[in-house]
Subunit: 217 residues, 2 copies
């Protein structure tokens, strides 16, 4: 593999190959399990079986680790939204339906993602905050603009402000984030299950699609 | 007024009348301005002009102050939802429309409210967490159940799961919370204005009402 030759992937003495990815994945699991947007380095070390000095080595500090986790999770999302919008053989309605489904699934997998983004935008200097917005938020908003414009043009969608629509979709889907606590104390359910995710996905797609579709009457 | 006679409202030496309310209102303003769910006691003292020892006197500690703020903000909301649902001379559709508008206005006024609720549910012991859920979350969910049932019965609404609908409404409206950062970095707008609030209110009511109304075709 010649890993040693690449400064990006050079591993320090005693660090197993894949240690960087394992630290990120373990941090992701800790935040998901704890419904939090923070980790303790000692828990990370305990659960990953890796020395916490490796955090310093790979990420500089905890803030660097959180930033790397955001990058890991967000790149895939932005790529998939852009690929979906660029598809030629799919109607705007089908694209939006699939997109909303994917947003729900993403938040099920990474329930900390929106809160992590907001935390990093808030805690970073102006330049880094702008980078996060430019790379991960603005492209999604731009994709919505194009999708809604295409749907309105073919008469499938009502004219809807894409900027506001962005808040509606991320907000409604995002609610999965803090749902665990509400479920536990209001509804006596202990966790977010796949069954509940599926029900919420169907419900959300239904409501939002009905909200944007042009009335055909 | 006989304030001294009531242990609840007895003020310590040197504390102006209304000091308790002023501390709560100042804490509310600080969290609103900073887009945060936390306050520093020194900033609270500085902005209110009151000695921070009064926080200890009235609320025990900062956690007690945050809890009192939640109680202040939430009691009015729950009462207004329950009064709305109980109204005899209004259709379920008109009630829901008015309710969603009010949720947007509430989050505009108290943009920290959902995050504060989740924080206090998370940080409290089981008994206090259950009290918050019982007093402030469950009643709203129950009101939704009654409202949707009434709307479905008269053919105005599609049958919608009220538990899931609760997440849709609070999530979509709640997005106003973290909107400030997104607006600043993605859209070059610096604050949440009344104009934007009004636009988002209309947009949200439109989308959600279209999502729940039975198709009349």
């Amino acid at each position: 593999m010649g890993r040693k030759a690449d400064p990006e992937t050079t591993v320090p003495d005693g660090a197993p190959a894949g240690a960087r990815d394992l630290l990120l994945e373990t941090a992701s699991q800790i935040m998901r399990d704890g419904d939090l947007v923070d980790i303790s380095l000692s828990e990370l070390s305990l659960r990953s079986g890796l020395n916490s000095a490796l955090v310093k080595y790979y990420f500089g500090n905890k803030a660097g680790l959180l930033k790397a986790l955001l990058d890991r999770d967000m790149v895939a999302i932005v790529k998939s939204v852009e690929a979906l919008v660029a598809k030629d053989d799919m109607s705007p309605e089908a694209k939006l339906r699939r997109h909303i489904s994917k947003v729900i699934d993403t938040y099920y997998q990474y329930p900390y993602l929106n809160r992590l983004t907001m935390r990093l935008v808030r805690d970073s200097n102006a330049e880094e905050a702008q980078r996060i917005a430019d790379e991960y938020l603005t492209p999604v908003h731009r994709a919505y603009s194009r999708l809604i414009k295409a749907g309105v043009k073919e008469g499938a969608f009502r004219p809807i402000n894409p900027q506001l629509f962005y808040f509606t979709v991320t907000g409604a889907c995002d609610r999965f984030f803090s749902a665990r606590l509400v479920l536990q104390h209001c509804f006596g359910q202990d966790t977010l299950t796949e069954g509940l995710r599926d029900a919420y996905r169907e419900h959300t797609v239904d409501i939002i699609m009905a909200g944007i579709l042009a009335r055909r009457d």
